[in-house]
C-alpha cells in the first residue's frame, strides 16, 4: 500500500481560508445562508468552515447543521453490509435560505444526490451550493459538480482519498492511498 500526501500543513490552512473568502464573496454576511455538513465526515469540515468564517466576519451566529443521508442512499440492499446512520441536527428553518452543502471528498456524486433528496425533507431552500475539499474529477456517476473546490485531483477507482482533521485525528491532512503496484 502506498500513501501520498495531497494536502497538509500551511497549504491545507490556506486552502480552507481561500474557500471561506470565496463563500463570503457570494454570500456577504451570511444573513440568509446556512451551512450543512454531510454526516459523518463532512460535518467536521463544516465545523472548520464555520469557525474560519466567524473569525473573518467577526460574527458568531453563522448557522450550521448536520445532515445524515443513510436512509436516502441508492445502494441499500445492493451491497454487503449496512452503513450505520448518524444524527441529523438541523435546528433552523432552511425554507427560502441559501444552503451550502459541505462534504470532504466528492467522488461519484451519489452521496450529494442523496443529500439533495434528504435536504428537501426539511423544506425548499432558495438555492443549494456544494463545497468540497477534494474533487476526484472525471469519476462522476451523476451530473453533479461542486461550486467551491479545495483541490482537484485525478485518481483511479482503486485508490482512496482520506481526509483527517486536527479535531478528530490530530492532524489536518489529505492522503491518497493506492494498492501497491503489481
Amino acid at each position: 500500500m502506498q500513501k501520498r500526501t495531497l494536502l497538509d500543513g500551511q497549504k491545507f490552512q490556506i486552502t480552507i481560508k481561500r474557500l471561506c473568502h470565496q463563500l463570503i464573496e457570494s454570500h456577504n454576511d451570511f444573513s440568509n445562508t446556512v451551512l450543512i455538513g454531510i454526516q459523518p465526515r463532512g460535518s467536521y469540515f463544516a465545523d472548520r468552515v464555520k469557525h474560519e468564517l466567524s473569525e473573518v466576519l467577526k460574527k458568531s451566529v453563522i448557522q450550521k447543521g448536520n445532515l445524515d443521508i443513510t436512509f436516502f442512499r441508492d445502494d441499500f440492499r445492493r451491497k454487503d453490509g449496512l452503513v450505520s446512520a448518524s444524527s441529523n441536527t438541523i435546528d433552523f428553518i432552511i425554507e427560502g435560505k441559501n444552503v451550502i452543502l459541505i462534504d470532504d471528498v466528492l467522488w461519484t456524486g451519489r452521496t450529494i444526490r442523496a443529500a439533495l433528496d434528504a435536504l428537501l425533507a426539511y423544506g425548499r431552500p432558495a438555492k443549494v451550493e456544494l463545497l468540497v475539499l477534494i474533487d476526484r474529477r472525471f469519476s462522476r456517476h451523476v451530473p453533479i459538480e461542486p461550486d467551491y473546490i479545495g483541490l482537484q485531483v485525478d485518481t483511479l477507482d482503486s485508490q482512496q482519498v482520506k481526509v483527517s482533521w486536527k479535531e478528530t485525528e490530530g492532524e489536518d491532512k489529505v492522503i491518497l492511498i493506492s494498492e501497491s503496484n503489481k
Binding site: P40, D68, T70, F71, F72, R73, F76, R77, R78, D80, G81, L82, V83, S84, A85, S86, S87, N88, D117, A118, L120, A121, Y122, G123
Partner: protein, 310 residues
Amino acid sequence: MAVEKLSTRHLLGIKDINRNDIELIFETADNFKDVINRPIKKVPSLRDITIANIFFENSTRTKLSFELAEKRLSADVVNFAASSSSVSKGETLIDTVNNILAMKVDMVVMRHPYAGAGQFLSKHIKAQIVNAGDGAHEHPTQALLDAFSIRQKLGDVAGKKVVIVGDILHSRVAISNILCLQKLGAEVMVCGPTTLIPKHIESLGVKVEHNLIKALNWCDVANMLRIQLERQDIKYFPSLREYAMMYGLNKQILDNLDKEIIVMHPGPINRGVEITSDVADSKQSIILEQVENGVAVRMAVLYLLAAQND
C-alpha cells in the same frame, strides 16, 4: 463508517436475538424517531420492497403502527385480515402465504393465534417474517418498544427494576418483555394473582410477588398488562372488580410510594381495571410515548431486516 448487521433474517422472537441486535435496533430507532418528527416524515429506503401485513387475529395499534412504519420507509404495503379471507374457506396457512408470496412480496408481518406460527412459516417460505404476536408466545416488537421507551425515559435499561403486573399466563408481551429486559441487564419481577402467574416462571430468572404494593415499592418501572378476557377459558379470579381492587393501580397508591415510578401499558387499556384514568393520564405514565416509539422501533426492525435480504 461502521458496518453492522442483525444476526437474524427474521424477527420471530426476542429469544432468537442477542444484546447487540437489540442495541443496533435501538440506535437505528433513534434516527427514525428523528425522521418521524420532521415536516416530511418519510424516507425512501424501502421503496423497492413489498410487505404483506397478515393478521389472523384482531389488532388496531400493532397493525396501524406496522403500516405507518412501512409507509414511512416508502415500502409498498398490502393488508390482509383473516376474517375477510379464504382462511374461512379452509385454506392452510402455508397455502395462504404462498399465494400472497406468488404476488412477489418480500416480507411478511404476521399475527397468529397459535404459538410458533411464525417459526413454522419461516421454515417453509422464502420471505422474511416479522412476528407481530403469536398466541401466548412472543410479541417481539412490543418488547423492543417497551425497552426503548424505558431507555429513553431513564437513560439506560441495565440495572433498572421492572415489574410486570397482571395476566402473565396469557401474555406474549410478558414473555418477550422478560427476555428483552434481561438481555439488556434489567431485573424483572412479575406480579399478579397466583392463578395468572405460570408455574415455574422463576426458572426464567424473574422474581414473583403477589402483593402489588410490595412490587411497586421495589421497582423503577411498572408495566401494567391488560387482562385478556378473550383468552381466558375459565375464571381465573372471582370478578373484574375484585381484580381491580387487588391489582389495579390508582393515583392514591402511586402517590403513597416513596419514589416516583414510571407507568407503562401496552394497550388497549381497560380503564378502571389495570389502571385508573388519573394514572393513565398522569405525568408518570408513558403510554403515549410507547405508541410513538412503536413506529420508530418497527421502522428500525424492518429497515435492518430488509438490509439482510440479497
